[in-house]
């Protein structure tokens, strides 16, 4: 076998590809060829490493040296210094955000130390476009074990015993879902929900991009367990890299006989087809997703009948989320007890979160259930940037709510999040600081649900629109205390009268922010002030006369001539004319312009 002396792993996830990691790979290949190292050093494009904030990321093995924010211009230095002379390029090493120590290895960073990678174990480790690398890390071994030595009921029993719950949002026990679909219908389907639509969330995409075979293997196992022979992966069209790698994975898997007829000589047939979403958030709802695969408008259907009884094309169907599937092969290989040993009493295993927003280490993290929000934000996330104060974390996307700073010690699992008025959701975790206006955030999520409501039920279609209008009144300074009560009443009506989870949860961002940040709502309606300084209608720009030097810079950038004053004398802003664009504040060198 051909041996190589070093491997250079470059992240090919969407974040790093957007910051030109492909150019780094090309530069590396050219440089290595120039030095005649093409046969000694192997360059591998992997899936997401997780620490997207520091992308593009490169790791050089065998040392495991972790370089961050690499550009193509750094490549000659890396090749000449590190690869040829064995000297680490110190200036590209990751600097710990808290201690400012330079850290050589990825696993030693505070970002990774607290993490426990199960669903993401192969992301950033293997080349996702090569099935042999997946097989080398025990890939398809679980499928072999299932097909050659287990009955379908034994498979379902292991999944049930592991306590695995759906990672897509609601947290329904996976084994139970499979059990419901085990009846003896002649045709059944296995579906994978890869229509990850929550804004600010990219967990499933990272699994698909970094480890696509794990999803294929798990779906085939599910097919065997319930007696289905066809699978569909419904993936959103906005994920071109994920789609490309899934296509490659399906092709390679068919070539080696892990998909197709008579898999592992067991007589079991299974194949998988990709179906692309077309940008409709509601299609993440299980019945809407199936309606969409059938080729219709993605509108939800009433349940019951549940999909396990009557799903896709009106036959029994199971639908699981990407991350749920990513846990299955390891549960088969390592056993239910191993999986159940992680997490809390009712929430087993780990959960992947996308840590984004006002946080130092933006990226993908996988933590055991029960880790506290404080550990995630302060230790893994490295805290809030620019010395600002942590205000709240939002989970569950447009269906979820927020966890305020005073509840930062909440352990993260299904039950605890529900108790504080939010939900696990698919795993978006958006950090907000003191500059974030909670009324504005509620408005942002409502705008999203108004856009994405499919229009089938009145409560959701019209209710969310009315709720948004009320929020707009508040941020425009036209709100009253009675309006707040009306909003709450309407929110509960929408929840009670909507057919699917989209409508039932759409008011949550409003209810949750009203529960924890009522004082901010009151500031908007009573004092007509936005404490965070976000809602433009409630702001006025002012010049502090003592600080103004009369340099006229602000008057010159003002596009509506709202600023006047003599040279070298304090200027004033005409608030009637001012359109609150903020250009003057950006221009002022003396911090003399304030908003409030």
């Amino acid at each position: 076998m051909h041996m190589v002396r070093a491997h250079i792993l470059v992240c090919g996830g969407t974040g790093c590809t957007s910051s030109h990691s492909q150019q780094i790979i090309e530069a590396l290949e050219t440089q290595l060829a120039e030095h005649g190292l093409g046969n000694e050093i192997k360059v591998i494009k992997t899936g997401c490493f997780g620490l997207c904030e520091r992308g593009p990321i490169m790791i050089v093995y065998p040392e495991g040296v972790f370089y961050s924010r690499v550009t193509a211009d750094d490549v000659p230095e890396i090749v000449e210094e590190h690869i040829l002379k064995g000297r680490i390029v110190k200036r590209l090493l990751y600097q710990d955000t808290a201690s400012h120590d330079t850290i050589q290895s990825l696993n030693k960073t505070r970002f990774y130390e607290k993490q426990h990678r199960v669903a993401l174990r192969n992301c950033g480790v293997i080349n996702p476009e090569d099935i042999m690398e997946y097989i080398a890390v025990d890939g398809y071994e679980a499928l072999g074990r299932v097909l050659t030595g287990m009955t379908p009921q034994e498979v379902v029993d292991i999944i049930k015993a592991s306590g695995l719950r759906g990672r897509g949002g609601a947290g329904f026990p996976t084994g139970m879902k499979w059990q419901f679909a085990m009846g003896d219908a002649p045709v059944k389907y296995v579906c994978c929900n890869a229509d990850e639509g929550d804004p600010g969330a990219f967990m499933d995409r990272s699994v698909l991009e970094g480890d696509p075979h794990v999803v294929l293997e798990a779906m085939t196992i599910a097919g065997y367990a319930i007696g289905a022979h066809q699978g569909y992966i419904y993936v959103r069209a906005e994920y071109p890299i994920a789609i490309h790698r899934l296509q490659i994975a399906i092709k390679q898997s068919r070539e080696l006989g892990f998909l197709g007829k008579d898999i592992f000589g067991s007589g079991f047939d299974f194949d998988i087809e990709l179906r692309l979403g077309s940008g409709a958030f509601v299609c993440g709802e299980e019945t809407a997703l199936m309606t969409s695969i059938e080729g219709h408008r993605g509108e939800p259907r009433p349940r019951p009948p549940f999909p396990a009884v009557k799903g896709l094309f009106a036959v029994p169907t199971i639908l699981n989320n990407v991350e749920t599937y990513a846990n299955i092969p390891q549960i088969i290989l390592k056993g239910a007890d191993w999986f159940a040993s992680m997490g809390t009493e009712k929430s087993k295993g780990t959960k992947v979160f996308c840590l984004v927003g006002k946080i130092n280490n933006t990226g993908l993290v996988e933590i055991p259930m029960g880790t506290t929000l404080r550990e995630v934000v302060e230790e893994i996330g490295g805290g809030v940037p620019n010395g600002k104060k942590f205000k709240a974390a939002q989970t569950g996307g447009p269906s979820g709510g927020c966890i305020p700073a005073e509840l930062i010690d909440t352990p993260i699992d299904y039950e605890n999040l529900a108790a504080v008025g939010t939900m696990m959701g698919s795993g978006g975790l958006i950090v907000m600081d003191e500059d974030t206006c909670m009324v504005d955030i509620a408005k942002f999520f409502l705008e999203f649900t108004v856009d994405e409501s499919c229009g089938k039920c009145t409560a959701c279609r019209i209710g969310t629109k009315r709720l948004l209008e009320m929020l707009e009144k508040i941020t425009n300074g036209e709100g009253t205390l009675e309006l707040l009560d009306q909003m709450e009443e309407l929110a509960y009506d929408i929840k009670a009268n909507s057919l699917c989870a989209l409508g039932q949860t759409a008011p949550n961002p409003v209810l949750s922010t009203m529960r924890y940040f009522r004082d901010e709502y009151i500031a908007h309606v009573v004092d007509k002030k936005c404490p965070a300084g976000v809602c433009k209608q409630l702001l006025a720009y002012k010049i502090i006369p003592e600080k103004c030097k009369g340099c006229t810079a602000c008057a010159r950038v003002c596009s509506v001539n709202a600023i006047s004053g003599e040279v070298k004398k304090p200027h004033v802003i005409d608030t009637e004319k001012c359109i609150k664009c903020g250009a003057c504040q950006l221009t002022c060198k003396f911090d003399a312009i304030v908003k409030g």
Partner: protein, 167 residues
């Protein structure tokens, strides 16, 4: 999202029509064919004017009303041709809290178009898109295949000027 009907006359070529016919023939027998056919038809024509929907409706034997219903339901399908430079500003939560709204304001100010519109010369179109998943680079915008990350409103002028100067 409401969709604006196009005012640009349909100018499909025979070559495009042949591709569409082949596509329809390939998918005709597959259950749930409409979505993949529409997705690829949009790849052929760049958008889905009523003339193309009509051909698909006839080819797949589905009522035109239903085809139109599906096209207007999904936000990726467009009834309008795109500008030569398609500007997309990510409005995912991470980008939003980091000031994506200010980027849109600045672009609208410079080009005089709102999201969903095209400049009269057909050069620029503007959309606010759902999360593109590059949250580590927030706020993010793309112009065709070029990605710009960690933006401030002041950066917009320079970026747009680059494309304005190109033919």
């Amino acid at each position: 999202m409401a969709k604006k009907k196009t005012t640009v006359p349909f100018q499909g070529t025979a070559e495009q029509e042949a591709k569409l016919k082949a596509l329809i023939a390939e998918y005709k027998e597959i259950p749930g064919a409409l979505m993949p056919v529409l997705q690829q038809a949009q790849g052929i024509y760049g958008y889905l004017p009523i003339e193309v929907q009509q051909m698909i409706a006839e080819g797949l034997n589905i009522p035109l009303a239903e085809v139109y219903g599906v096209v207007t339901f999904y936000s990726q399908f467009t009834l309008n041709p795109k500008g030569k430079y398609e500007i997309s500003v990510c409005m995912g939560t991470a980008c939003y809290v980091k000031g994506a709204g200010d980027l849109i304001d600045r672009i609208t100010h410079i080009l005089g178009i709102e999201p969903g519109e095209v400049t009269p010369d057909g050069k620029f179109s503007l959309t606010n898109t759902r999360c593109i998943g590059a949250c580590g680079l927030a706020p993010v915008m793309t112009v065709n295949d070029d990605v710009y990350g960690r933006l401030k409103a002041e950066d917009i002028d320079g970026i747009l000027r680059k494309y304005m100067n190109e033919e």
